[in-house]
Subunit: 187 residues, 2 copies
Amino acid sequence: MARNKRDVDRAQKQEEIELAATRLFLEGGYDATSMAAVAGAAGVAPNTLYWYYANKDELLIAVLNRLMARTLEVRAGIAELPLPEQLLWLIQVFEQAHNLVLTVHGRLDQSKAIFDWHAQFHQKLEALLVATLVAQGMSEEEAVTLATAGTFIVEGLLSHPHTLEQREKVIRWLLSKGWKPDDSYFV
Amino acid sequence: MARNKRDVDRAQKQEEIELAATRLFLEGGYDATSMAAVAGAAGVAPNTLYWYYANKDELLIAVLNRLMARTLEVRAGIAELPLPEQLLWLIQVFEQAHNLVLTVHGRLDQSKAIFDWHAQFHQKLEALLVATLVAQGMSEEEAVTLATAGTFIVEGLLSHPHTLEQREKVIRWLLSKGWKPDDSYFV
DNA sequence: ACCTGAACACCGTTCAAGT
DNA sequence: ACCTGAACACCGTTCAAGT
């Protein structure tokens, strides 16, 4: 499976495009960022993007996969931290890309590719959360429900302005269900 | 504050436009429904819409207010039902317009008008939920947290495919926190 | 294989002109 | 006050042509 010169070049070009797209999507939002703007930032003609990506949604998916890979790397390094730390870290990660979370939800009905990506994303996220909760001694059944509710609450926080106090209160409430966090963490 | 002939005519025209827009937005989605399509369904020229609404977002807000008014009317009739019934009814209402819920969230960063509408919507919804919970004997503080978490979970269900079994499980989990629903409801 | 200039169909919105 | 035809700037995407 050795990659020849040509593959490397292709991968490099795609990296340039995806880095530009990531920056612009995060800064200005998906809808407000035109394909021409991405192309300009990557130093190519607008229609060149269509050599690498079938359409704008596929470019978004490439960006999302890149962000997810980077996030999984970081998370591997903090897997040993206590649960509340991990959850608050997760919220902050999603918050940085809250733009794109809302965009993905908004395009669920309009793009099958986005719909499929979203489904597998939540599958992976739930598996990760459940494994973490079970490792802490929670039952599988309890863990699944808590993972689902936790995901919804994290996503809810992203699209609704709130104070840090409100955030702490609802997270504390969530975790107090089957699991007792160290209250001192929040002080 | 009596309305003269002219006002009545204007209101009638707006009703025609908003009914057409409501149908098209719910069926095909906001993005996929062009102003020209709304105008066509209402029997006017595309640019005529701009006499009544400053832009497409304002038309969306008019549609949302119409849906909300109708929903509040229906809800007044079921205010005496037990809490789980009311909550499941709410989910089903949101589900019918889940399209527009996701659209509103997706446009939060791009339209101040939508942002403001969303803020006041959640203010009203929370006030209604808290009042309902307090009337059932819950403390104000507890009610606020449960209302927030409940809203997020309802919205989470809207954007994530799930079985009825999953829905029942997470709703049951939510309500089991400070309040004991009649389990037989779910059977 | 990769890239581009030119074009296409469409979009939200504006404007000058009509009644 | 209300409505419209025509136009504007922009969009995602396609295609034929280049290397």
